[in-house]
């Protein structure tokens, strides 16, 4: 029995779900809006906590997903549902019939310029974590010019009423420490500071990474949110924060400031999501049926979700969800 399963999104969640569904004898079809599979993770250099090359993981996933029918540079333009299942029209006008839909549309990176006081897009040497990762991958970034002092700001676009994101973005803490170590590897003489509020080292080996960051890499963790950034005569960045553990305001000049941008829901899927009748939760991510046992289910039968479209998630979380969604879909088809 071959049944079509439409998977929207070809990132880690979509690829892994497709791989599993294919192994189960179903016919997954991936629709990916960009020109390649891999999603955000394909843009990443190394993964926390063990500095494993992201390419390794992505390559393996690409290898496994090879036989799956994939549309690149394509979006779902319209989707209808009847008793036979789902009928989607793609942006290339092709039509796809499917028994079930998996939304694996992932996340968007918070637009750092929205946090105006950090001056991203205004002060030259303010950059985002995504851009820093690109620097690690390519070794090129005009802003990084043998810096002597580098700062990381946590929770940019997260835990912040002022940008309407009250949730924690989960992976930024660990990413910040990973990147802090990496930048220290590139510039061993540089002083590296992270400005955090809580260091949420939630996974196996993550706390060890924290310890390593402190002990081996001499990264200085300051508890306090950076409150404003400005530029001095030389184009260096002057930042202010409270050292909350010390209870005094603190001021320092940095060469580069990295903003740990949060995850927001990928909004390009909103129209299709609405057509499918999947609502958003208060954080703006897709609403799941149940936090414990129904994390892949939506209010609509046959519409499933996996990965960061429902909440900020790490790569292992996402892959776990992708595998579990495959089981859910399989059970749904064979119900």
């Amino acid at each position: 029995m071959k049944e079509n399963i439409l998977i929207i999104g070809g990132g880690a969640a979509g690829m892994e779900a497709a791989t599993q569904l294919q192994k189960m004898g179903l016919t997954p079809i991936i629709v990916e809006k960009s020109e390649a599979l891999g999603g955000h993770i394909a843009q990443w250099d190394r993964l926390f906590p063990a500095f494993h090359p992201a390419k390794d993981v992505v390559d393996q996933m690409l290898e496994q997903v090879k036989g799956v029918k994939t549309y690149l540079n394509t979006e779902v333009a319209d989707i209808q549902r009847d008793n036979d299942g789902f009928h989607a029209i793609l942006s290339n006008n092709e039509k796809i019939d499917a028994k079930a839909v998996v939304l694996a549309t992932g996340f968007d990176v918070f637009k750092a310029e929205r946090k105006q006081e950090y001056g991203y897009g205004i002060y030259n040497n303010v950059m985002t974590s995504v851009e820093l990762e690109k620097f690690f991958r390519t070794g090129k970034d005009a802003r990084i010019n043998n810096p002597k002092k580098i700062g990381f700001v946590h929770c940019v676009g997260a835990r912040d009423v002022k940008v309407c994101n009250t949730y924690c973005s989960k992976v930024c803490c660990t990413t910040a420490l990973k990147q802090a170590c990496e930048i220290k590897e590139v510039f061993p003489d540089a002083e590296v500071y992270t400005f955090y509020m809580d260091l949420r080292m939630f996974g196996p080996g993550y706390e060890d990474l924290y310890l390593k960051t402190q002990k081996d890499f001499d990264v200085k963790c300051v508890r306090g949110r950076v409150c404003e950034v400005s530029e001095d005569m030389d184009g260096r960045l002057v930042i202010k924060a409270e050292d909350t553990l010390f209870g005094k305001p603190l001021k320092m000049t940095l060469d580069v400031l990295v903003l740990m941008c949060s995850m927001e829901k990928n909004k390009s899927i909103d129209a299709i999501q609405q057509k499918l009748g999947v609502a958003n939760n208060s954080d703006g991510f897709m609403q799941i049926k149940n936090m414990y046992l129904g994390m892949n289910d939506t209010a609509q039968d046959g519409v499933f979700v996996a990965g960061a479209c429902t909440a900020p998630k790490s790569l292992p979380d996402t892959i776990g969800e992708a595998r579990s969604v495959a089981t859910q879909v399989f059970n749904y088809i064979n119900r």
């Binding site: 260091l199 924290y210 310890l211 402190q214 002990k215 001499d218 200085k220 508890r223 202010k240 050292d243 553990l245 010390f246 005094k248 305001p249 603190l250 001021k251 320092m252 000049t253």
Partner: protein, 103 residues
């Protein structure tokens, strides 16, 4: 002219100019010093802390924020009882560091 008031000094910790000599000296012999997670266990258990402001966590911070004089003043309160070392979740040899600061 006496205006009846004058400029106040800034309380900002100026990280650009802070003197870390003592902290770096300690770091050489006690690399653990970097691993403090500011949990406050040392302060909570401190025998002298029961009567004074004594807090090892703060002493470490003072040294990193250029307030060496304050740190040394606070250390005077210490009774060296060693409870802090026993409760530190990162296993920092606090008593040793305290002694090293004093000499």
């Amino acid at each position: 002219m006496d205006f009846g008031f004058c400029l106040s000094p800034s309380s900002h910790v100026k990280m650009d100019t802070v003197d870390l000599t003592t902290f770096n000296r300690l770091k050489e012999t006690n690399p653990d010093i970097n691993t403090c997670i500011a949990c406050g266990s040392c302060t909570a258990t401190c025998t002298a802390g029961n009567f004074t402001e004594m807090s090892f966590r703060r002493i470490l911070l003072m040294l990193q924020r250029g307030k060496e004089d304050e740190a040394k003043k606070m250390i005077q309160r210490c009774m060296l009882c060693g409870k802090c070392t026993l409760v530190c979740p990162r296993g920092i040899n606090i008593r040793k560091i305290l002694l090293d600061i004093t000499r």
